[in-house]
Every structure is written in C-alpha cells, then in structure tokens.
C-alpha cells in the first residue's frame, strides 16, 4: 500500500462527505415535501459512499484510525475535496446545478473506477455508479425544468451556472496522486473524463436553454487542502459533536 493510494481513496470520500453534508442541510427546508425526501435520499447516498470510502482508506492506511476519525478528526487543510462541493447551497437553482455538474462527473468517474485493480474500490464504484445514474437523471431533470422554466427560474439558473463554472476546471485537473494511481490501474486520470463530461453537460444546458459560460479563470486548491472560506464553517458544524465529546456514541 502506498500513501498515494490512501490519499486517493480518502479524498474520493471527502467529496462525498462534504457534498452530502451540504445537501443534508436542505432536509426540512426544500420547496415541497417530495423534494425534501428526494434531496435527503441523495444526501444519504453520498454519506453512505463516504463511509465506504473512508473505511477502505482507513484499512489501506493500517493505523488505528477508522471512518469516524477521518470524517471528524481532521482539519480543513487535510481535506482534499473539490471546492465546488463545499460552496454554500445558495438557492435551489444553485444547489441543483452544482449537483448536476458533480453528478455527471461522479457517474463517469465511477464507471471508470469499476475496472480498478483495487477490488474494494471497484466494488464501491459498482455500487456508486447505479446511484449516480439516478442522481444525474434527477438533477439533470431539474436543470431543464428550472432553466427552461419561468423567467425567474431561468435567470437564477443562469446566475448559478455562471458562478459555478469557475469551479468545474478543478474536477479535471489531476495532480501527482491521480497520475500515480492511474499509472497503477487503481485510479483514473481525471483529464480523461473531461470530453464526455463536457459533451453531456453541453447537451443538457442547451436543452435547459442556458448559456454555457466561457472557460475563463478556474479556481483550484481543494485537492491540496487549500479551501474556500466556507469550508471551516462547514467542518465546525459537521465535527462539533465529536470535537466537543470525543468518542461520543449515540
């Protein structure tokens, strides 16, 4: 086992946990009941995925840390999630557009990871790919509904998309860990996912009558632990109980 392998699996878990944490904040606040349940379902899928990935990462590390230690016991700089996952939810258009952009990415990523030479990772990917297929369908459906909806829903969607676009470049900017894992057949070079992602997203945006922003400046740094100002607040809420009462069980 290499530490790159551990890091790779752990940060896949980070993306799932942080986005799951964001989505779960909608629980009880969604625009209508059916949506509330659907949103919470998606959040639970992501948190369940984070648990599997963290458990696997902890085994790879071989120390006495477990999934909870990885989720609740690390500081901001030690999280390697994409910045797009930690951005505040904004309005429903922002939440669902972000979700769609990440869902398409995850779907392609887990399709590719299905053939990973790490059998546990391949098994997690096989489960995740079914979940993400549904997530893409759901969030994609909403992107079209809201984008091609009323004047207000359209303009909110466009606003969200313009803001989010600068955070999509990071999804495909691999680092040394990605390269090493791709070379060993364990992971995927994220740059390879870009063409299919771009094509899928472009088609959906067109159907949603949304204007795809130009590729200008792109944010980055999540993988290296350099997060937005929102991450600390998110972790404070996420980790409070375990920080205040270490080892608490309920």
């Amino acid at each position: 086992m290499s530490s790159a392998h551990f890091e790779y699996v752990q940060r896949l878990g980070d993306n799932a946990l942080i986005l799951g944490q964001r989505l779960s904040a909608w629980c009880g606040h969604s625009p209508f009941l059916e949506e509330d349940i659907a949103m919470a379902n998606t959040a639970l899928d992501l948190i369940g995925r984070a648990r599997m990935l963290y458990t696997h990462a902890a085994q790879l590390e071989g120390s006495d840390r477990d999934e909870d230690a990885l989720a609740y016991g690390r500081d901001e700089r030690q999280f390697g999630n994409f910045l797009i996952c930690e951005l505040p939810n904004g309005d429903y258009a922002f939440t669902l557009l972000r979700q769609y952009l990440v869902d398409v990415y995850h779907h392609q990523l887990f399709l590719a990871l299905g053939t990973s030479s790490d059998p546990t990772l391949a098994a997690i990917a096989a489960k995740a790919v079914k979940e993400t297929a549904y997530h893409v369908r759901r969030s994609g459906d909403w992107v079209v509904r809201l984008g091609d909806g009323t004047q207000q829903s359209h303009s909110r969607c466009q606003l969200a998309l313009d803001e989010l676009w600068a955070y999509t470049g990071e999804l495909f900017a691999g680092d040394g860990i990605d390269q090493a894992m791709a070379a060993q057949g364990i992971g995927v070079d994220p740059a390879q996912l870009a063409p299919a992602w771009s094509e899928t997203v472009a088609n959906q945006l067109k159907q949603a009558t949304l204007q795809q922003p130009r590729d200008e400046w792109q944010a980055g740094g999540g993988r290296a632990g350099l997060h937005t100002e929102h991450m600390g607040h998110l972790l404070a809420e996420l980790q409070f109980m375990q920080r205040a009462y270490p080892g608490l069980k309920w």
Partner: protein, 94 residues
C-alpha cells in the same frame, strides 16, 4: 412558498415480481416524469418495490358514498354467490 399545489398523483407499487401493483399513497408532481422520480424517492427507498405506476388522481373515477346502498348492499344476502358448497379435501390448504 407558493400556496398553489402541483397536481396530485396516485402511486402504485409492485412489491415483488408476480404480485399485483398495489396503491401505496399519493404525492404532488408537475408531470409524470417528476411523479415517477418522486415515487421512487418517497416509496421505494427501503426496497419496497420493483415496479412503479403513477396515475393522475383526477383520472381516477371513484364510486360515490351515496351509491353505497344501491351498489353494495344487494350482495349481502346472495350467499349462493360464494363458492362454499364444495367439499374441500383436507390436503388442500387454503
């Protein structure tokens, strides 16, 4: 939040292959696609089903309470319509 509701849909779930779809509840959705997804998320999240039907509630025609006497009471004294006159072998479990 708008006080205007989306159309109501009745949801039917087939719990296992070989069984009939059963009415399980209702929900609000803009159209059939959304109703299907909402039904999946609301009613099958604990492995309750393998197939979903969604029907607009307004498309269901229900018998009326005031028709109860005419519709259902006459069947009450027609005991000969029940197949109770056959000798059922003991081995046959009903």
């Amino acid at each position: 939040m708008s006080s205007k509701h989306l159309p109501l849909w009745e949801i039917f779930i087939r719990s296992r292959r070989g069984l009939d779809h059963k009415h399980i509840g209702s929900l609000h959705a803009a159209d059939a696609t959304q109703a299907m997804q909402a039904a999946r998320d609301t009613y099958t999240r604990r492995q309750e089903g393998v197939s979903i039907w969604v029907v607009r509630s307004s498309d269901i025609h229900a018998s009326q309470f005031e028709d109860d006497a005419a519709f259902f009471d006459p069947a009450a004294d027609k005991i000969y319509r029940h197949p109770t006159f056959y000798d059922v072998p003991d081995e046959l479990k009903l």
